[in-house]
Subunit: 333 residues, 2 copies
Amino acid sequence: MASSGTESRRVTIHDVARSAGVSRQTVSRALNNKGEIHGSTKQRVLDAALALGYRPSRFARGLVRQDTISVGLVIPDLLNPFFTEVAAAALEAARAHGWHVLVYDTADSAEEERGTLQVIASQVDAVVGYFSRSEDEIEKLTRGLPVVLIDRERRSDRFSAIRIDGEAGVQAAITHLVEKGHRRIGMLDHAGRAEPSVRHAWFAAATAACGLDEGPVCRADQSVEGGESALETLLAEHPDVTAVFTFNDIIAIGALRAARRLGRSVPRDLAVIGFDGLRLGTLVEPPLSTVALDTRGLGALAVEQAARLLTGSGPLTPDELVVRAELRLRESG
Amino acid sequence: MASSGTESRRVTIHDVARSAGVSRQTVSRALNNKGEIHGSTKQRVLDAALALGYRPSRFARGLVRQDTISVGLVIPDLLNPFFTEVAAAALEAARAHGWHVLVYDTADSAEEERGTLQVIASQVDAVVGYFSRSEDEIEKLTRGLPVVLIDRERRSDRFSAIRIDGEAGVQAAITHLVEKGHRRIGMLDHAGRAEPSVRHAWFAAATAACGLDEGPVCRADQSVEGGESALETLLAEHPDVTAVFTFNDIIAIGALRAARRLGRSVPRDLAVIGFDGLRLGTLVEPPLSTVALDTRGLGALAVEQAARLLTGSGPLTPDELVVRAELRLRESG
DNA sequence: AACGTTCCCGTGAACGTTCACGAATTGCCG
DNA sequence: CGGCAATTCGTGAACGTTCACGGGAACGTT
């Protein structure tokens, strides 16, 4: 009835007004529950709107009352549980502000990331996310849009960045392993970027602080399979390794599986400690020890900073934009 | 420089025009890479825009060129891996169409769902999602907006609904268990709604078809913990049960953990078969047998139908809007 | 010199809604 | 009956952008 077969133009507030025999303003009053309208005419307008299938244009409405705020959330891979948790926290924080969240999954592709950023810039009021491109590029694509970077070392002061400080946590993890008698500790770093990760730097510093030689490192894709094959090659090249620290929990879980396949009992023959503190880690066997992050806090903090940037109310300072990690011992190491 | 301390009004295209000594239209040409503009003036305009921190209003732009489409994705809990997978698939499908996706997590709350629906109706061009409220209510809140329901029995023809057909898959699962010698098979249903789930109906039909007595059923919250405690009570009341089928994989994973704690070896002492086919199921010990769904297809199908509804190009018929489930045997049963 | 082209650029209109204001009607009281 | 307030409704303007059109300058052609 209301739907049209032909490619007709949009039903506007004018059409409703004409149909109900009133003016635009009266229609507006009826639909927005404003006062200054008679009960019967209000009902008549509502009926007309329903009959015509009228829905107000969000653009026209947004143009005049500047109240709806929407923020873009950009993540590399929603299926990666780490980002799922961050995203969930961000959604919750945004809801508390009454904001809308547009989510973009860049599929770990720098090219998609570029395209997304390009498109997003004209669709949202602020951007929160995890980016791999250079700050120059991001700057160029966002053009003064408030941007909050997640898990990024702060190189310039153009963007806010939520920093992850895992130094103490990693130190605690390595110390723990050493106390357990481990002397040869390897690491499964990520394979994403060319240079080693910051987490690797923490690892190196921690082993050095414990008076250990520099442990062997192997690069792993950010997936369970990546962790599996990485552990295999690490152990093949360095059979004397009795403990591994991994870039994140996903890789650690892969390491767990590979260890089982290789006949190495965890934690007896091989200790494994991950990074992130995913819930997922409690489900695997044995439960994964990890340097845990407050992922909820991460997402919430990012959105909070976006809010500050947007409202102009004093933004958080860099040293407030930090999420610290702490060792959470379960059974794998 | 560009940012203002005072609460000043928005920088518009007029301001840029004035600053560059040209007209609005010329500014528009420069920013949108249209032709009919001299190289030097274009540069001058771009500089002015940058200096003023100008960003075009998405509302004004959307009002005149009606090209940007955004769809709302409503899910009860993003942290539930099932919905994560559906959401990821939906995001990907939407990206293929060049659409924007606004994601809302209703936190399993009917009240939040209502509020979301209310707000969403004026912000998107179509809604895709998983709803618990009655169709009447949804109808009232969306007012003619294209809506695609996920995993919902089609009661009326007002909405499109993606139906999950697990009948054959569940039948295969039960048949498999019976062939393995199981005679007393229980089920862990969900605890969400008052009435038993459709999946329970499939289960009942399948056991009956195999000539078995009706198996005992226990309700479980949709969480690992829910699955754990549900299995415990089920086994306490019915110790003769040697196999369980669960509402979904999350609950099944809880059952796995409870079985371990109770000293029941899986699958020797207790067989467990879940429903959904989550990737997560491959990570637990033992790997979870399950009646697997094509979750990617689910999300993609929903978005595809939204696209058809939106463009008016013949929508998919109800019997095309079906995702079938098939038994995927791993090691737990 | 008159005329057609090409290249730039600007002006009115339109998109669909809400806001600010004014006008018409009704009711009430003196 | 006059006047004042309250109630109900309508009209111009504004939000910020793009589209359709038209105009002027520069250049070449006949």
